[in-house]
C-alpha cells in the first residue's frame, strides 16, 4: 500500500496565506515603529493582512467538504479547546477582525490606535506559529512532530509578509521603498535564519527514532521532491534572495540601490521569497511520511 498525502496544495496555500497575512501586519507595525514616515507601506501591510487571511480561510472551508455542504457545522469549530485547530480558529478570527479594523481605519485615513496595531500584530504572530503547531502536534509524521517547525513557519511567515509589503511598495511607492533601510535589513536576515532552521529540521528529522523521518528528509533532499526542494525552495526562495540583497544592501552604491534596475532586482528577490514560502508549506505537507507506512513495527 502506498501513502497518499492527506493534505495537498489547497492546505499549502492556506498555511502560506495565513502566515503571510500575519507577517504582513507585523510588517505594518514594525514600519510604524521604525519608519513612521512610510505611511503608504504601513497601509499596504494593514491591507494585505486581512485580504490574504480571508482568501486562505475561504480555501480552508472549500477543502472541508463536509462543512461546505453543511455550513452551520463551522460553528462547531469552537467546541474543542484541546484542539490546535480550534485555537487557530480563535487566532484567525481575532486576527481577521483586528486586521480588518486596522485596514478599514487606515483606508478611511483615520488614525489607527497603537493598541490595535500591537494587538493585531500579536495575533498575527500567533497565527503564524499556529500554522506550524497545527502540523507539529501530529505524532504520525516525524517531519512535523518537532518544535522547530512552528518557529520555521513563523520566520517564513514574517519573511513572506515583509516580502509581500515590499513587492507592492516597489510597484506603488518606490520612494518609500528606498527609505525603509532598517526594515529591509531585518527582512534580509530572515532567509538566513530560515536556512539554519531548515537544515536543523532536516538533521533532527532524519535522526528520528522512526525511519519515516529519514524517508521524509530523503524524499526532500535526494528523492521525489529534490528538484522542487533545491531549485524552488533553497535557490529561488532562500539563497537567491540572500545573495541579491547582500549585493544590493552592502556592495552596491547608494545611487544604484535607488535606481529602477535595483527595484527590479529587489522585486525578483522578494518574489522569490514568496515562491519559497509557498513551496516550503507544500513540501512539508507532501513529503511527510507517516511512521506507520515504513513498517517499523511490522
Amino acid at each position: 500500500m502506498t501513502f497518499e498525502p492527506i493534505w495537498g496544495s489547497i492546505i499549502a496555500w492556506y498555511l502560506f496565506l495565513a502566515g503571510l497575512g500575519g507577517g504582513a501586519y507585523v510588517s505594518a507595525a514594525f514600519l510604524r515603529w521604525r519608519h513612521p514616515e512610510a505611511v503608504a507601506m504601513i497601509r499596504i501591510g494593514r491591507f494585505i493582512a486581512p485580504v490574504t487571511v480571508v482568501i486562505g480561510l475561504c480555501l480552508l472551508m472549500f477543502d472541508a467538504t463536509a462543512g461546505l455542504q453543511h455550513p452551520l457545522r463551522f460553528a462547531l469549530l469552537l467546541t474543542n479547546f484541546g484542539s490546535v485547530m480550534t485555537w487557530g480558529v480563535v487566532f484567525l478570527g481575532a486576527f481577521t477582525l483586528l486586521s480588518l479594523a486596522g485596514a478599514g481605519l487606515s483606508l478611511a485615513k483615520r488614525d489607527v490606535p497603537w493598541g490595535l496595531d500591537i494587538a493585531a500584530a500579536a495575533f498575527g504572530v500567533c497565527v503564524a506559529i499556529y500554522t506550524g503547531c497545527l502540523l507539529g502536534v501530529c505524532k504520525t509524521f516525524p517531519l512535523w512532530n518537532n518544535a522547530l517547525l512552528p518557529i520555521l513557519f513563523l520566520v517564513s511567515a514574517l519573511s513572506t509578509g515583509m516580502a509581500a509589503v515590499l513587492v507592492v511598495a516597489i510597484v506603488r511607492h518606490p520612494e518609500e521603498f528606498n527609505r525603509v533601510g532598517v526594515f529591509k535589513k531585518f527582512h534580509f536576515v530572515l532567509p538566513l535564519v530560515e536556512l539554519l532552521l531548515v537544515a536543523s529540521l532536516c538533521f533532527v528529522t532524519a535522526s528520528n527514532a522512526s525511519p519515516a523521518g529519514y524517508e521524509s528528509v530523503m524524499s526532500l533532499v535526494a528523492g521525489e521532491w529534490s528538484v522542487v526542494f533545491w531549485l524552488l525552495f533553497i535557490v529561488v526562495g532562500l539563497v537567491g534572495p540572500t545573495l541579491l540583497e547582500t549585493w544590493l544592501l552592502f556592495f552596491s552604491p547608494r545611487e544604484f540601490e535607488e535606481s529602477r534596475k535595483a527595484h527590479v532586482i529587489s522585486f525578483a528577490s522578494d518574489a522569490g521569497v514568496l515562491v519559497g514560502g509557498f513551496v516550503l508549506r507544500l513540501l512539508v505537507l507532501v513529503a511527510a511520511v507517516p511512521i506507520t507506512m515504513v513498517t517499523p513495527w511490522l
Binding site: L72, A75, T79
Partner: protein, 735 residues
C-alpha cells in the same frame, strides 16, 4: 419477489433506529441548534430475510440475504450449508453488489453490421435466434450446435435440456480450462472424477498447487486450520508460497510443471523400500507390478534436478507419508497445478491416485474419502417429458477420448467452429473468450460461427464477440433449482429470489431457455415453471419447495458418510488401475510415467514459466468489475506480476517497478511485486485481470490477462487447455 420469499422470516426492525440514536447519543447535550444540524436518523424499514446461494464462485455458499425496503443490506452466512459453515468469504460480500452494478446488461443486444450492439426486444431476439437455429439444424443437423456453460443450479439443468431437446449432445462445461485433466485422470485410475481429503483428521496432507486460503471455500479453510491445530503435517507443493502458509508446516517450492516427477519419485521410495500398503494394493489394484517396473529408475536423485527439490527432501516426505498412512493423502486439488495446466496434467492426476492407493488411505479416517451424495429421483414423465435419446457422442470425444463426457472439451468445439463443423454456439455464464488460452486466436475461431449467443449479466469479453447477447437478471433476482451438495452429510440447499427484478428486460435463466426452446420449436419440453420443477425434484427426496424455502438448507443425516468402507471402483476393471487400456488406446503410456511439459523455460535465455492463480477476493474474471473488490486490487497493487527477489536483483528491477512481459504471442507492461515467495524459474500473474471489455468500466484496462501469453493448444488424450505451457521474457520498461 415471490410471496414465499416475503414470508420466510419477515419482521420490522423497529428497535434498530432507537438503538442507533441511543448509541450515538453519548456526546449530545448541546443546544437545539446542534440537533438541527446533526444527521437525521432514517425511520426503520421493512426487513425481509431470504436464503440464497452466493454466485461469486462455484462453491455457491449459502447465506441469508437481508432486504430492507427492497434494498439488499446484510449477508448472514448459513451455518447449515456445508461449504459456508457460518462464513462467507471476501468475494461473497463484494460480489453481492453485482445486482446494483451500473454495467449490468439491461436489454437483449444484437450486433449491427458495424460491429456495435443495439438494444432489441426479446421478441425480435428470440425470433431471429430461433430462425437461425432451425436453419442450422435443417442444413447441418443438431450436431452443429454447441453449448458452453459454467454449471449453476438451474443453468446446468436447463442448458443440457435445451440442447438435448434440439438433438445435440454438445453440452460443454468450462472444465477444459479448469479441472478437466484432473477429473479425467482420476477417472482413469479410480473410476471417479473426485474425492475429498480428510484434511482435518489427517496426520499428513500434501497440497499440490492448491491453496485453500486463496481460492476460498470457508469450510476448507476451517478444515485446514483445524488440521494445523491438531498437529497434522501440512505440506504445500507450489512454486509460490500461498497464503495457506499460515496453517502449513512446509513449503516445497517445486519447479512448475514437474509435480508428476515428485509424485513418481515418492512412489518409487515407497515401493523400493517396501513402505506401501501391500495388502491394500494386492486387494484393490490391477497393473501394480507393471507400474512398479516402469518407475523403478525414477528415484529422488533422478527427480531432484527436474523438480528443483533436494532428493533428501523427497525421500523424507515419502517416509513421512508412509509413517502417517493411512491418515494421510495427497489432496485432490482443483484447477491448481494439474486441473488443466500442462501436457502432463492428466498423468499427474493419475499418479496422484496411485500414490494415495499405495498409502491405503481410501475411505480411512484422515485419508482420502468418497463421501456420499443425494440425487433427484424420477419425475412425472407427463409434466417433465424426457428429451429424445441422442445417438451421437459429444464432439471431441473421439479426438480426446479420456476427457470426461460430462465436461467435454470445448476447446475442440471451438476448433470445429473454425472448420465449420460447428455452426452455432451458446454460452451461458461462461467467459470463454477471456479465460482460455490465446483469446485472440479463439476469437478468430468463434468469428466463423453463423450464430453465437451469449447469456450473461454483464458485457463479458465473450459477449463482445456474440451476435446476440441475452441479459440474465443477477443471481439475487432469481430463484433456481435446488442444489444438492455431497459431503460427510449431504444436503440440499436453495437459491431463492432475494430482490425484485431490477431491470425489467432481464430474465432468469430458466425463462430464457424456455423461451429459446419455444423459439426453436422445442417448447414442449419446457412446459413448467422453475418452482414446479423444483418442487417436483424435492418431492423425489421426500421434501417440498415450501420446506426448503423455509429452512434454506436441509441435511440428509440418514445418508451420512462413515469411514472404513472399501470403495466400489467404477473403472472398467473394477479395481484401481495402475495400468489403463484406455490411456494406451489414447496414445498415452499404460502406466503414468514421467512426461516432460511441452515447454520448459531456459533460464540462460532469460525465460520464465508464466503461472496463474487465484487471489482471495476474485473469481477468474467475473468479479473484476465489482468496485469494492477492484478497489482492493488497486489499493494493494494485486494486479502486479510476482518475480523472485534474486531474479529482480540480477535484472535491477525494484518492487513496484514497471516491466514488459513478452513472448511470441503477446507483450504488455505490468508492475512487479518483488518477493521471496516465488520459485525463480516462474513469473506469477494473478488470473483475474487484463479485462478487454470496455463496457466493464471498473475492470477494463487493469493488469494483464495471463491467457494472452498462452498458445492455443490441447492436452493430448485429456483435452485440457494447458494454460501454463508457455514461457515469457521480461525486461524493464523503457529498455
Amino acid at each position: 419477489m415471490s410471496e414465499h420469499a416475503m414470508t420466510r422470516r419477515s419482521f420490522l426492525a423497529g428497535s434498530a433506529g432507537v438503538a442507533a440514536v441511543a448509541a450515538a447519543g453519548g456526546f449530545m447535550g448541546f443546544g437545539a441548534w446542534q440537533q438541527a444540524i446533526a444527521k437525521e436518523e432514517e425511520p426503520p424499514g421493512r426487513t425481509e430475510v431470504v436464503h440464497t446461494l452466493c454466485n461469486a464462485c462455484s462453491s455457491k455458499c449459502g447465506y441469508d440475504a437481508y432486504v430492507v425496503d427492497g434494498k439488499l443490506t446484510k449477508l448472514i452466512a448459513d451455518e447449515a450449508h456445508p461449504y459456508a459453515q457460518g462464513k462467507i468469504c471476501g468475494r461473497g460480500y463484494g460480489y453481492s453488489q453485482i445486482a446494483y452494478s451500473p454495467d449490468r446488461l439491461t436489454d437483449p443486444l444484437k450486433r449491427s453490421a458495424d460491429g456495435s450492439f443495439e438494444a432489441i426486444s426479446w421478441d425480435q431476439a428470440l425470433d431471429e435466434i430461433g430462425q437461425k437455429v432451425r436453419e442450422i439444424v435443417e442444413k447441418d443437423g443438431p450436431q452443429a450446435l454447441a453449448m458452453v456453460q459454467d454449471p449453476r443450479p438451474s443453468g446446468k439443468y436447463y442448458t443440457k435440456r435445451f440442447m438435448n431437446a434440439l438433438g445435440s449432445p454438445n453440452v460443454y462445461t468450462h472444465g477444459a480450462a479448469c479441472n478437466l485433466s484432473k477429473e479425467s485422470g482420476f477417472t482413469q485410475a479410480i473410476g471417479t472424477g473426485n474425492f475429498e481429503s480428510d484434511v482435518e483428521r489427517s496426520k499428513m496432507t500434501m497440497f499440490i498447487g492448491r491453496s485453500y486460503a486463496d481460492a476460498i471455500r470457508p469450510s476448507s479453510v476451517a478444515a485446514l486450520q483445524r488440521a494445523h491445530e491438531n498437529g497434522a503435517h501440512i505440506v504445500l507443493v507450489d512454486p509460490r508460497l500461498s497464503n495457506s502458509a499460515a496453517f502449513a508446516d512446509e513449503w516445497v517450492p517445486i519447479n512448475p510443471g514437474t509435480d508428476l516427477a515428485l509424485i513418481l519419485a515418492m512412489a518409487n521410495v515407497l515401493i523400493d523400500q517396501g513402505l506401501y500398503d501391500k495388502a491394500y494394493v494386492a486387494a484393490n489394484a490391477v497393473g501394480f507390478d507393471e507400474w512398479a517396473a516402469a518407475i523403478a529408475g525414477l528415484t529422488p536423485e533422478w527427480a531432484a534436478p527436474i523438480t528443483g527439490i533436494e532428493a533428501s527432501t523427497i525421500r523424507r516426505l515419502a517416509t513421512e507419508f508412509a509413517n502417517a498412512a493411512p491418515a494421510a493423502s495427497i489432496e485432490p486439488s482443483w484447477r491448481g497445478a494439474f486441473g488443466c495446466s500442462y501436457r502432463n496434467s492428466g498423468e499427474t492426476a493419475r499418479a496422484l491416485c496411485l500414490f494415495n492407493t499405495l498409502l491405503g488411505c481410501w475411505n480411512q479416517e484422515g485419508g482420502a474419502l468418497f463421501t456420499s451424495g443425494v440425487s433427484v429421483g424420477k419425475l412425472d414423465p407427463e409434466k417433465f417429458p424426457s428429451t429424445p435419446k441422442i445417438e451421437d457422442a459429444i464432439i471431441g470425444s473421439v479426438e480426446y477420448p479420456l476427457a470426461l463426457k460430462s465436461m467435454g472439451t470445448n476447446l475442440y468445439a471451438a476448433q470445429m467452429a473454425k472448420t465449420g463443423k460447428i455452426k452455432g454456439m451458446f454460452f451461458y455464464n461462461s467467459n470463454m473468450a477471456a479465460g482460455y488460452s490465446n483469446p485472440a486466436e479463439l476469437a478468430s475461431f468463434l468469428d466463423r460461427l453463423k450464430l453465437m449467443v451469449v447469456i450473461d449479466v454483464q458485457m463479458s469479453e465473450t459477449a463482445q464477440l456474440a451476435d446476440y447477447v441475452l441479459p440474465e437478471c443477477s443471481f439475487l433476482e432469481r430463484m433456481e433449482l435446488p442444489e444438492f451438495v455431497g459431503g460427510k452429510t449431504p444436503v440440499v440447499t436453495l437459491r431463492d429470489q432475494v430482490l425484485d427484478v431490477i431491470h425489467p428486460n432481464t430474465l432468469p435463466s430458466d425463462q430464457i431457455f424456455a423461451k429459446l426452446a419455444q423459439a426453436c420449436g422445442v417448447g414442449e419440453y419446457f412446459d413448467f415453471t422453475v418452482e414446479e420443477l423444483a418442487d417436483a425434484q424435492l418431492r423425489t427426496v421426500g421434501l417440498s419447495l415450501e420446506e426448503l424455502r423455509e429452512a434454506g438448507t436441509i441435511a440428509f443425516p440418514e445418508k451420512a458418510y462413515s469411514y472404513g468402507a472399501t470403495p466400489k471402483w467404477k473403472t472398467p476393471t473394477g479395481k484401481v488401475q495402475f495400468a489403463s487400456d484406455a490411456c494406451e488406446k489414447a496414445g498415452l503410456p499404460r502406466c503414468p510415467v514421467w512426461m516432460e511439459p511441452e515447454v520448459m523455460p531456459d533460464a540462460r535465455a532469460g525465460e520464465f514459466r508464466l503461472i496463474g492463480g487465484k487471489q482471495a477476493i476474485h473469481s477468474h474474471t467475473q468479479t473484476a468489475n465489482i468496485e469494492a473488490l477492484m478497489d482492493i486490487t488497486e489499493e494493494y497493487g494485486l494486479d502486479r506480476a510476482w518475480i523472485n527477489a534474486s531474479v529482480a536483483r540480477d535484472l535491477g528491477i525494484e518492487d513496484g517497478g514497471l516491466v514488459v512481459l513478452h513472448n511470441e504471442l503477446f507483450d504488455g507492461p505490468i508492475r512487479v511485486k518483488v518477493t521471496e515467495r516465488l520459485n525463480p524459474t516462474a513469473i506469477y500473474l494473478p488470473s483475474h485481470y487484463g479485462c478487454s471489455s470496455k463496457d466493464q468500466h471498473t475492470a477494463y484496462g487493469v493488469g494483464l490477462n495471463v491467457m494472452d501469453f498462452v498458445p492455443f493448444h490441447i492436452e493430448p488424450g485429456y483435452g485440457g487447455a494447458m494454460t501454463q505451457e508457455t514461457v515469457v521474457k521480461m525486461q524493464k520498461a523503457g529498455e
